[in-house]
């Protein structure tokens, strides 16, 4: 698609010139292949000696069935996280009406490995990486919740069972096994706690690591207000252990080791059982996302990978039922 890319280059140059002046040149524009409802462009800005690598992210799929967060909210969130000292790509600017790109924004480029299989193969760095991840979560959860008022309207900021059930119901396919999971969560509520801002998609695959150093926490579009264990439970959900099932925390370390790291980093004391509640929630939620992809496949966004997602719901249901029976932990 050379024409599309050259059009994007002109549009990027225009956006950079507007903000950084005529001396800043856009070079080496490439399009990342990943991302279903987003377009991601990588490019250099050259001004003087050292080029600066930047990333442009645009929502290309805007509509009522798009559940993902508005880019403007995502940008503000990344600013808050960056301002708090978290390892997130530095937000540079947002597109506006004067640009032919967007809605979306530009951040600094962060380098590192994100592929779970590669990260999990490097076992020597797992303990150190888990500690850095726990520090990031503790830092995020320590931020004043009042700063994150923009997240109050996200459905997940309300009751987590009601929100998840609502999303599944909207997808028009009955899943008794997932309903059993939801019923279990209803009958065994966790402890009441004050809500904080949570990342919402904190898992192996959504952060970058460079030689054992965590360089960036990515994918902030599922953020909402919840209890701290929500992020930890999603991180520990069996699907994100990528086969290293005894290392509950993202395939890196055990659940209890991660909770100790989180506590040592200033996080609240959280029990394993509270995290397990969220792991069950996580299996249902991952099932829901796969139903959603199949729904998209059947409603105008057809692709082999999305078709498989519909069938893969069975895998999450199996893990869920084995967990409810106490055979999986």
């Amino acid at each position: 698609m050379p024409d599309i890319l050259s059009d994007a280059r002109v549009a990027l140059q225009n956006a950079i010139t507007r903000r950084m002046g005529a001396g800043a040149r856009v070079e080496n524009v490439t399009q990342a292949t990943l991302g279903g409802s987003n377009r991601t462009l990588l490019f250099d800005v050259v001004e003087g000696a050292a080029p600066r690598r930047l990333v442009s992210r645009e929502a290309t799929f805007v509509g009522p069935s798009n559940d993902f967060m508005e880019p403007a909210v995502q940008f503000r969130l990344m600013r808050l996280a960056h301002g708090a000292g978290m390892r997130v790509p530095e937000p540079v600017f947002e597109y506006d009406d004067g640009d032919t790109l967007g809605p979306g924004f530009v951040t600094a480029f962060a380098s590192g490995e994100s592929l779970p299989r590669r990260l999990l193969a490097e076992t020597a760095m797992h303990v150190g990486l888990a500690r850095q991840l726990a520090e990031q979560l503790a830092l995020l959860h320590a931020q004043p919740v009042g700063d994150f008022e923009i997240l109050a309207d996200v459905p997940e900021s309300g009751d987590p069972v009601v929100a998840l059930r609502g999303r599944i119901d909207a997808l028009e396919e009955s899943h008794p096994a997932l309903e059993v999971g939801l019923r279990y969560l209803e009958l065994h509520p966790g402890p009441a706690r004050a809500k904080v801002a949570v990342h919402g998609d904190f898992r192996t695959g959504n952060f970058l690591v460079d030689q054992g150093r965590l360089t960036a926490v990515l994918d902030w579009e599922c953020s909402h207000l919840s209890v701290p264990a929500a992020d930890i439970g999603w991180f520990c959900t069996r699907s994100w252990r990528f086969g290293r099932t005894a290392q509950h925390a993202g395939g890196l370390v055990t659940r209890s080791a991660f909770l100790a790291d989180y506590r040592a980093a200033g996080g609240e004391a959280i029990s394993e059982d509270e995290v397990r509640w969220w792991e069950i929630h996580g299996l249902i939620r991952w099932g829901m996302y796969n139903i959603l992809q199949a729904y998209g496949h059947l409603h105008g966004r057809s692709s082999p990978a999305f078709a498989v997602c519909g069938r893969n719901v069975a895998l999450m249901e199996y893990d869920l039922l084995m967990t409810l029976r106490g055979e999986y932990d």
């Binding site: 292949t33 008794p176 519909g310 029976r325």
Partner: protein
Amino acid sequence: MRQYRPDAANLVSTVAAFLERIGPKLESGDRYEALVCRHILTMVERELTAPAEAERDDAAFVRAIRAGEFDGAWERLVEDLLAESVARVMIVKPDHLAEKHRAAK
């Protein structure tokens, strides 16, 4: 028991349409998707050779679970659904099953 959407005919036609489109210009970047397609076809093959199972009104089943009608028979409910889930995963991705369920067939 039924499998979830899409149905087998839809899967096969989706793959066929995809292969028709990319066949003449296949590059290394399409390798992943080609693998997925192969996975789909093996799944469909398992499904077409599996015995048919009885249909059930899953919407009513979900409503009953939600209303708490199975709260007093919880272990049986989970056990029955697990047996059903094993049969489903056997078609979708047998490697995903725990050892004891793989050995069952």
